[in-house]
Symmetry: C2
Subunit: 172 residues, 2 copies
Amino acid sequence: MGEPKWLTERELRVWEDFLAVSAKLDRRLEQQLKDEAGMSHAQYEVLVRLGRAPGGELRMTELADAALTSKSGLTYQVTQLEKAGLVRRRSCETDVRGVIASLTDEGREKLREAAPAHVTLVRELFIDGLPATQFAGLAAALSILSARLRHEADAGPAAASGSGQMADQLES
Amino acid sequence: MGEPKWLTERELRVWEDFLAVSAKLDRRLEQQLKDEAGMSHAQYEVLVRLGRAPGGELRMTELADAALTSKSGLTYQVTQLEKAGLVRRRSCETDVRGVIASLTDEGREKLREAAPAHVTLVRELFIDGLPATQFAGLAAALSILSARLRHEADAGPAAASGSGQMADQLES
DNA sequence: AGCGTGTGGTTCAAACTAGAATGAAGTGCT
DNA sequence: AGCACTTCATTCTAGTTTGAACCACACGCT
């Protein structure tokens, strides 16, 4: 790893813009949810994924994956949400080890209550304000990156051992 | 706030892709820096901003701003970095209250040492793999969002008091 | 059945985070 | 000069994060 390919000025700007946007967006959303709904973004995210799942139920591991948090992180959040009465734990019939997180009625209600302001802010900060062309560009780029990172997750450090290209799906 | 403008399916996908990309990228970089350089991404970011500043020095507030962390967060990180000998604090001549964080030679060396692997990973995960067109779209979008959030920071809750539109720059 | 390996979830310890409160010192106005 | 107001950085507190260690169970193989 003597001399890597450094970033061009442009690439650097894009990367730092990404970091800045991500950080500031996170903070604004966090703050708003805390103020108006008394919950963290992480918790909101858990409720959303549960709300979307059939029956409002999901296995812990699946939920952790969907809500972009670690397993231990999810255990913590679900415990908090359970204390607040928004989520219940029940055990899985087909696998004794399994735990199923289940959205309560209060949880669903709370979600319904918190969503409008949240969505409005996401719209204001992220969606509106981008001309259609740029939005389309952003959409395309994020879709690729998201897919890429989803698969990287398994193979992870495998890239270090030679491949790391995956150019196949790009050349189409 | 009865019924907000909900997100279309497409908008939702983009937003969630953004969250996913951001989260996964963060985790990968965090992990790599910890493994290979023994520092957190936050600390790395502080070193980078200092390294780029004239004389390797910056006022705490400016640094906090640049490194995307809160003031108290920066105080903590600088203390850590100081313990590690990578940064020094000195007081500001023109303002007694002021504190200037200054990159030490060891700090600069450490940065030089950590940067290649970090940059390579950023390249691998974020830059390469995006066709030129999509990269350009991403760049344009992030540039707009970044600028927007930079200014929002001051006006912040001002949006709540009536305006909140800023539609002027949309209709063009 | 018995054994080794993998998986699901929690617990634990340690680090990090942000905001509120604090104290000291600038700034502007009369 | 005196006073109110803002700014700079730190301290404090409480909450949150993560990976590692852990236990109990599932699964595959012989």
